[in-house]
């Protein structure tokens, strides 16, 4: 099993993932770690329907998915992991799976958020989550599509509020 990409994207599976990244990385499996989607069959079907035909899609609860990814179960699968937000990434880390780096692919404008990049808006709790990930040795790069520039987010994170 190899994890090709761990991505935070508030849209989960959508064009940039199913066309852009899937064409570039050729994964066997897109694994969505999300407790809300996992608990709702309607949402599960909607999210999985956006997956390209050549790739399998699966939704797991974060705790279950973190165990699955840290188990090192022998398998040939090439995996792209998707999380909808920083909170979910933090829960994944606490659940036992620590990737070398996480791609921030889309966190769009929302209440209380500030723009770091056109596709990365963070509020204070998201900044805290990302600091937590960085403090645990996880690299953070912002990149929407494979052909575009990757930006190291760690130096761009605002200082914690004192």
């Amino acid at each position: 099993m190899s994890v090709l990409l761990v991505r935070i994207d508030d849209r989960l599976i959508h064009g940039q993932v199913s066309v852009g990244w899937a064409t570039h990385l050729r994964p066997d499996l897109i694994l969505v770690l999300d407790d809300e989607v996992a608990a709702d069959n309607w949402e599960n079907d909607l999210v999985c329907a956006a997956c390209p035909d050549s790739v399998r899609a699966r939704v797991m609860r974060i705790a279950e998915g973190s165990r699955f990814l840290s188990d090192e179960a022998p398998s040939a699968d090439r995996i792209v992991v998707l999380l909808r937000g920083t909170k979910q990434a933090r829960l994944m880390l606490d659940g036992g799976f620590r990737p070398q780096s996480i791609n921030i692919g889309g966190l769009h404008h929302h209440e209380g958020s500030r723009s770091l990049l056109p596709f990365v808006y963070l509020d204070s709790s998201e900044v805290a989550d990302l600091r937590y990930l960085a403090d645990h040795g996880v690299g953070l790069s912002a990149q929407d599509l494979p052909g575009n520039r990757s930006v190291d987010l760690v130096p761009l994170l605002p200082d914690p509020v004192r």
Binding site: R11, H14, A49, A50
Partner: protein, 135 residues
């Protein structure tokens, strides 16, 4: 004879898709002031879904929800906004022939007939025209 009420619609797409498509349709068939256009640009998925939902609430049902492409983020927002609403007719792959057909027939046809008709015209608008093929 009763004339069906005008079927309302909301246009949703990536970037400038909705606004641009409508402006081209307006250049062909005249001004339109009752089709709200929504974009994913600068909006979180939750906010886009909420705006589509409030748009549907304002327009009333039945209504058409015209979306650029299936399985994108605009589509997902439209699906979430219309979850459980049988009279919100979500159509994807919206193109100029579909939109023009909609504008020409929205005062004339009931919603079921209208949906069938615009889908048909949207599909037949997609074609190859080549010298020597007899078309």
């Amino acid at each position: 004879m009763t004339v069906p009420a005008r079927v309302p619609a909301l246009l949703v797409g990536h970037g400038n898709f909705a606004r641009s498509l409508l402006s081209v349709a307006e250049a062909i068939s005249g001004p339109v002031d009752d089709i709200p256009c929504l974009s994913n640009e600068g909006r979180s998925p939750e906010r886009l879904a909420a705006e589509i939902k409030s748009g549907l609430d304002r327009l009333g049902l039945p209504a058409l929800l015209l979306v650029d492409v299936a399985n994108g983020s605009c589509f997902a927002a439209a699906r979430r906004a219309s979850r459980g609403l049988r009279d919100a007719h979500l159509l994807t792959g919206v193109n100029l022939p579909l939109l023009l057909t909609f504008l020409q027939n929205r005062d004339r046809l009931g919603v079921e007939e209208l949906v069938a008709h615009v889908l048909e015209r949207g599909r037949t608008g997609l074609a190859r025209h080549r010298d020597g093929d007899g078309t």
